[in-house]
């Protein structure tokens, strides 16, 4: 009976995902009717060529990016909460996100210079390959550092503290650069920091999907390990799990997910903390075999709704995604705590 209940919820979420996807494409500064969106997506043709252009070139890639970001950030968050047995952990605790930040800052601020600024202006700011590559390099660098350290540590708690410390160091280096930089450059950098789903198109979208897919596959393959870690490291080890190996695999997966998404979309907060909690209370299970796909669904629906909310018609300006996620996610988490009273439990 419980199984059918879960299946029902999965199907419900799939329908919701489809609806949110179409809604996200339909709503914007120019409203496109849902039926028309449907026709463009499935027959690649519309009477209105402007609409077709908007859907194909702008809104469809953006909705895909939202889905990918929802997948990656929520599964990353779930893995971190289980690995560190901490309900407040999210993908950013590893410092990989701030690594991406550092990469971007080093191009935008430290480069300081005409060269990088020219490149940004020339290639477009949010979709700039330069920015993306810098962010990837930063995230990758921190990931390697974290992995190197994690193979020397015996406890996940130490890993958590070190991850947070690395994040702090990175952010203060960025702050120094900000302090010493030209206000115009700082503004550009801050804009990147608001996060954007809009800049990822074409080949970038392909690369992002590959990175997220790799991260998700690793995560799903380690779902048995994550289940064992729910009992704590000692029990996990007594059941035949090698904590160090498991930790490295989980960190790899989360770094790919969080690093990749931050590199392409900028930092997007909150989804990583909120979605695992929402999913656990919705599915009432501790099995990662179910939680990982379920997190993907809940995360992508939440991201699409946030993106839709960010561009509601009537508002001329589109709000940055990073603001909306917290604005919608935080009340949800508070509601869950009040109703279930179980944030202290994280399995």
């Amino acid at each position: 009976m419980e199984g059918t209940l879960k299946k029902g919820r999965i199907i419900g979420l799939l329908l919701l995902l489809l609806l949110a996807f179409l809604l996200d494409i339909s709503i914007g500064s120019i409203k496109i009717p849902l039926g028309e969106v449907f026709r463009i997506l499935f027959s690649f043709h519309s009477e209105n060529s402007t609409w077709q252009f908007i859907v194909e070139k702008i809104r469809f890639p953006k909705a895909c990016t939202a889905v990918l970001a929802g997948f990656g950030l929520s599964v990353g968050g779930l893995q971190m909460q289980t690995l560190f047995r901490n309900p407040l952990a999210d993908p950013a605790v590893l410092g990989v996100t701030s690594g991406a930040n550092l990469g971007v800052a080093s191009i935008m601020l430290a480069g300081g210079g005409s060269a990088s600024l020219y490149a940004i202006k020339e290639l477009g700011f949010s979709g700039s390959w330069l920015i993306t590559c810098a962010a990837c390099a930063g995230a990758g660098g921190v990931m390697l550092l974290v992995l190197a350290l994690s193979s020397r540590l015996n406890s996940n708690v130490m890993m958590l503290i070190i991850g947070i410390m690395i994040g702090s160091i990175t952010l203060s280096v960025i702050s120094i650069w900000q302090y010493l930089s030209d206000p115009d450059l700082v503004k550009e950098y801050l804009l990147w920091n608001f996060g954007s789903l809009g800049g990822v198109t074409g080949s970038q979208l392909v690369i992002l999907s590959l990175v997220v897919a790799a991260g998700l596959i690793i995560a799903f393959l380690s779902s048995k390990k994550l289940d064992a870690l729910l009992l704590g490291e000692n029990y996990a080890r007594s059941m035949g799990l090698t904590p160090k190996k498991a930790r490295i695999i989980i960190i790899c997966s989360t770094s790919l997910l969080a690093g990749g998404i931050t590199a392409f979309c900028g930092p997007i907060g909150f989804v990583g903390i909120a979605v695992p909690h929402i999913t656990r209370s919705l599915f009432n299970t501790s099995s990662h075999r179910i939680l990982i796909p379920a997190c993907c669904l809940v995360g992508s629906v939440l991201m699409l709704l946030c993106d839709t909310a960010a561009q509601l018609p009537g508002f001329q300006t589109v709000l940055p995604i990073n603001i909306i996620t917290a604005l919608i996610g935080a009340p949800l988490v508070i509601w869950i705590i009040l109703h279930k009273n179980n944030l202290r439990n994280f399995g």
Binding site: A228, Y235, M239, G240, S286, N345
Partner: protein, 340 residues
């Protein structure tokens, strides 16, 4: 030394923690230990003597400083984590604090070393889980969430998980801590039964001396200095090892009574006559009151316990008067009054 029954044996084992380059030996050795099939061993010793360290080392959770541990003829050092997990299962003091984990999923996690890469359970896995659930008598709990369990239920569930792991050796670190008296007795009785019925070798550390003496086939008594005495509990009592182990802390063990002596500074002599259960409990009451019962020499009072037709009477004979009382309580009140 080792026979077919030997599940685990150690040679020159030294356990402890390595802290940096400085070597801190907690349990000094060298220890030559043995766990036999069907044997229930209680590891006793004061806090800080290194009980947990020894247990963790034997279970392979931490490396030995020196010496070797062999399980079923294979050195644990050479076993992979999964192979080791099929030989030793554990019940630890760590609390499992996961809200969505049901009792069934937790017990099912015991099949971790056997299940597929995705953690899917085969029919064989399921029947082992069912067996573990029925052995520990937790059928009524299996749909409950872990955080709703009482401490006693929690321990039974953790034990079921260890049983589901289907290992010849089972180790438990202070399984009776935090439990109330009935739960403690139930758990010990269960472990005793498991050892006999399943022929597992069970090693548990505990502070429950009385219970340990009753259920353990063998006691390992760990001293703060790192010495370890092993033997049948009765042997350790008779050859004075027990007495010696506790006398340093100013605690006396009464061989004859099989209990610790709490009232060791009594001075007033009293004579007690009579036999049976009533006399036994009267003696305890008098000792609590500060009397030394039935020592040679003059005593001011004599208490005679008699039982007729299910009615117990206490006759108190003093220097000049004799009276009969109907309960120990009144007898004690009179004695208290007379002392003044």
């Amino acid at each position: 030394m080792s026979s077919d029954l030997t599940l685990l044996h150690t040679r020159d084992l030294q356990t402890g923690y390595l802290s940096g380059s400085r070597r801190t030996v907690i349990t000094q050795g060298p220890l030559d230990l043995e766990i036999l099939a069907g044997q229930l061993i209680c590891l006793l010793g004061p806090n800080g003597a290194g009980k947990s360290t020894l247990l963790r080392t034997l279970a392979g959770l931490q490396p030995a400083l020196q010496g070797s541990i062999e399980i079923e003829g294979e050195a644990t050092k050479r076993l992979t984590p999964v192979q080791l997990a099929k030989k030793v299962s554990l019940v630890l003091t760590d609390r499992v604090a996961s809200s969505n984990l049901t009792v069934y999923s937790l017990v099912a996690l015991g099949r971790y070393p056997y299940s597929s890469w995705l953690g899917l359970l085969s029919e064989a896995d399921k029947s082992v889980i069912e067996w573990a659930v029925s052995m520990t008598g937790i059928e009524s709990l299996i749909d409950r969430k872990m955080h709703t369990l009482s401490d006693g239920e929690n321990q039974k569930v953790m034990l079921a998980r260890a049983l589901a792991q289907d290992t010849p050796i089972l180790m438990l670190d202070e399984p009776t801590a935090h439990l109330d008296l009935p739960s403690r007795i139930q758990l010990m009785r269960l472990l005793h039964r498991l050892a006999r019925q399943t022929h597992k070798g069970i090693l548990l550390s505990t502070h429950e001396l009385d219970l340990a003496l009753q259920v353990a086939g063998e006691v390992w008594l760990l001293q703060p200095g790192g010495q370890l005495h092993r033997g049948a509990p009765e042997d350790l009592v008779l050859n004075g090892v027990f007495e010696e182990a506790f006398v340093k802390d100013g605690v006396l063990y009464d061989k004859a009574a099989g209990a610790f002596i709490i009232h060791s500074d009594n001075t007033v002599p009293i004579t007690l006559t009579g036999s049976g259960v009533a006399a036994f409990w009267t003696q305890r009451a008098l000792q609590r009151q500060g009397f030394v019962v039935n020592t040679p020499g003059d005593s001011l009072h004599t208490v005679h316990v008699s039982e007729e037709g299910g009615v117990i009477r206490w006759r108190l004979e003093g220097k000049d008067q004799t009276q009969i009382y109907g309960s120990i309580g009144t007898l004690l009140n009179v004695l208290r009054f007379r002392e003044k």
